[in-house]
């Protein structure tokens, strides 16, 4: 999984935008096309990263303010034209250490996922309909933490506005068929580097459910921007989850076979 922050928000507006007036665009078709252009440019700018590895600390906080931490290592592989693969290996808390999640995100077909349960050494398939479900109790859903395939959404450009002193595009994203748990997301992306900074996620009744914000982007390999922190707040339950990224290593030489189902059995 490329983390949500990096991916969800990766979508950015692209070239062609200057041709449009800065005011709100009325025409739906035009807005859809401009939205898609933004995301396409964002994706294009992030294409070619090949693979990256990062370690992650996820802190869950409930309404009463109690918190709990999960740590994991995440490996992501880019497969041009096909999609992306991700392997998440849990390192904490102690009782879930060794649990691993392998997911394939495809541009067109339904995604595939397996979980590895180390206590019984079992690799178990997970139904791909799980996208709406909470990822290990966090406010991030499986859809949020999976690599984002732009083909699986439609878009609508809304406006340009300042966000934290940056000129940003604001656009909506709607899932096509895939269940994400959200009817739509409103995304803020800066015009200079096409990095997502904020996403408002709306529930099926079109009520604001969660807000995702990202912070402190760093540049890797002189091309790929990744945030060091993401924060997801649930407005309806008062719960929140923070994700910190401790290190990113790009182009480590990971290959397709490192994401085969069989690797789950040979991690140790």
């Amino acid at each position: 999984m490329k983390l949500p922050c990096s991916t969800l928000l990766l979508v950015v507006l692209g070239g062609g935008l200057n041709a449009f007036p800065l005011s709100t665009i009325e025409d739906d078709d035009l807005a859809a096309r401009k939205g898609l252009e933004i995301v396409t440019e964002s994706k294009l700018r992030d294409t070619g990263y090949k693979d990256f590895v990062t370690t992650v600390t996820m802190t869950l906080k409930n309404k009463q303010g109690h918190s709990s931490t999960r740590k994991m290592t995440v490996r992501t592989l880019e497969e041009l034209d096909k999609g992306e693969k991700a392997l998440i290996l849990f390192t904490s808390p102690a009782d879930s250490r060794g649990t691993a999640l392998l997911s394939y995100s495809f541009k067109k077909e339904a995604d595939k996922q397996w979980i590895y349960l180390p206590s019984i050494k079992r690799v178990k398939r997970i139904a791909s309909g799980n996208k709406t479900g909470s990822f290990v109790g966090s406010e991030f859903s499986y859809a949020d933490i999976s690599p984002q395939q732009l083909e699986k959404y439609t878009y609508k450009f809304l406006k340009e506005e300042k966000y934290q002193n940056m000129d940003c595009f604001v656009f909506e994203r709607f899932p096509k068929e895939m269940k994400t748990g959200y009817s739509k997301q409103v995304i803020w992306m800066d015009k200079e580097h096409y990095r997502p900074w904020k996403a408002e996620c709306y529930d099926r009744k079109d009520k604001l459910l969660k807000t995702l914000t990202t912070n402190n982007y760093d540049l890797y390999k002189e091309r790929f921007w990744r945030p060091t922190m993401c924060y997801m707040e649930n407005h309806q339950t008062g719960k929140s989850t923070t994700i910190e990224f401790h290190s990113y290593k790009f182009q480590t030489g990971l290959q397709e076979k490192d994401f085969d189902r069989s690797v789950l059995k040979r991690l140790k």
Partner: protein
């Protein structure tokens, strides 16, 4: 008793020497595991007055992993000693090396030498195709715990699938509860008095292979096993005027299939096997098939609810080895998705002919970063005296509370 405590003290020592590490560093020894205190409570008097009532048990399992890279190959050493100290049953007090092996990983193949554990299968309520490891039956009558199996295991990857080969030079006897043990079979099974069809007894070389592949929405596995059956038949013997069963391990051939089909929210599953060489039928089939469906965000909450339906069939009909010969299993798994990772699993396995019902319950919750509470229960309802082998457990409804410390 002192003899039994030594490994425990050693393991405790090891667990405290360990330094919690975030990531495996090459060449470093990495130690993790847990200890647990378990209490079992029974609701009725035992069928056999020698059997214990309430029971305390202490468990320690540690895992030591060390990894190094040499010349593009990855070597992993893995040791997992397990020890249980049981208040009532000296057979349940036991030590096992769940894992003790070296794994060599290369590009398209890997090789493992030593004792290890392998899981094959697709179903949730039974694991019939799973045959590499012997069941550590004293750990629980559901048979989920397995003994480490000595093996040379070679696996390789091709575009046509993943191939696994196993050579198993030594057979592990099934563990059975002692006279004091509960739940246990009635009449008593003396696991030490094993009888083998092969003249080489436990040194018969067993062989197995499996092919598996992910084909679109389906994950398929086909396996073969030739060697000493993990599931013994029983030979009655009269000892001091009492009937005692001795396990009889035959040489069998088994062909197995496991299949999982992922269709949107639904997992459709099947396991089937044909076994040859085991009496009384010599040839028989077992089939389990069903589905698992999950409601994510059940009832507009953060919880996920899975429900499981599995049909279970055994061509032998009523037999003392498998209680689920024409049964249906209904199960639920509730994942609360809270900060404590509360999970509650229940299942009912119902015999369609005489409505014998086995009820299973398991709930767990983490407390802080290291502690975990686990509550279990098992109940046997409407068990006629003719229903083998469940009639042994008629009075053995129990609950178990465990506190685990993970390090």
């Amino acid at each position: 008793m002192a003899r039994l405590l030594v490994p425990l003290v050693l393991l405790l020592f090891v667990s405290h020497v360990s330094v919690a590490q975030e990531d495996g560093v090459e060449g470093e020894l990495h130690i993790e595991g847990y200890y647990a205190l378990e209490f079992q409570g029974f609701f009725q008097n035992p069928q056999d007055s020698r059997q214990a009532s309430n029971n305390l048990s202490l468990v320690l399992e540690a895992e030591m992993v060390s990894e190094w890279i040499y010349d593009d190959s990855r070597f992993v050493f893995n040791a997992m000693p397990f020890y249980r100290l049981d208040e009532s049953d000296n057979k349940r007090t036991h030590f096992d090396l769940r894992e003790f092996n070296v794994l060599l990983v290369n590009d398209d193949w890997d090789l493992r030498i030593g004792t290890s554990k392998v899981f094959w299968g697709a179903m949730e309520t039974v694991h019939w195709v799973d045959i590499i490891n012997q069941t550590d039956f004293v750990e629980g009558v559901e048979g989920e715990s397995k003994l480490g199996q000595p093996m040379i295991n070679y696996n390789f990857d091709t575009e046509h699938g993943w191939f696994e080969f196993y050579y198993m030079p030594y057979f592990r006897k099934r563990t059975f509860p002692g006279i004091d043990g509960r739940p246990r079979n009635i009449p008593f099974i003396d696991g030490d008095e094993a009888i083998y069809e092969s003249s080489k007894s436990e040194w018969h070389p067993d062989l197995a292979m499996r092919w598996s592949k992910s084909l679109g929405e389906a994950d398929v596995g086909i396996s073969q096993f030739y060697g000493t059956t993990r599931e013994p038949s029983y030979v009655p013997v009269i000892i001091d005027g009492e009937v005692v069963l001795h396990p009889f391990y035959e040489i069998i051939y088994q062909l197995g299939l496991d299949l999982t089909l992922a269709i949107d929210d639904l997992l459709v599953k099947c396991e089937a096997l044909h076994r040859h060489g085991q009496q009384p039928d010599n040839d028989f089939q077992m089939v389990a098939a069903g589905f698992e469906n999950t409601r994510y965000g059940w009832l507009e909450t953060d919880m996920d609810l899975s429900y499981i339906f599995e049909g279970l069939y055994d061509s032998r009909g009523s037999n003392p080895l498998n209680p689920y010969e024409h049964d249906v299993a209904l199960g639920t798994r509730l994942t609360v998705n809270d900060i404590n990772d509360v999970i509650v699993v229940t299942s009912l396995i119902i015999d369609l002919h005489d409505s014998t019902t086995v009820f299973n319950f398991e709930g767990s919750r983490r407390i802080g970063d290291h502690w975990k509470m686990v509550v279990e229960g098992r109940s046997f309802w409407n068990v006629p005296s003719s229903e083998l082998p469940l009639n042994s457990f008629r009075n053995d409804n129990y609950f178990q509370i465990g506190a685990e410390y993970h390090f």
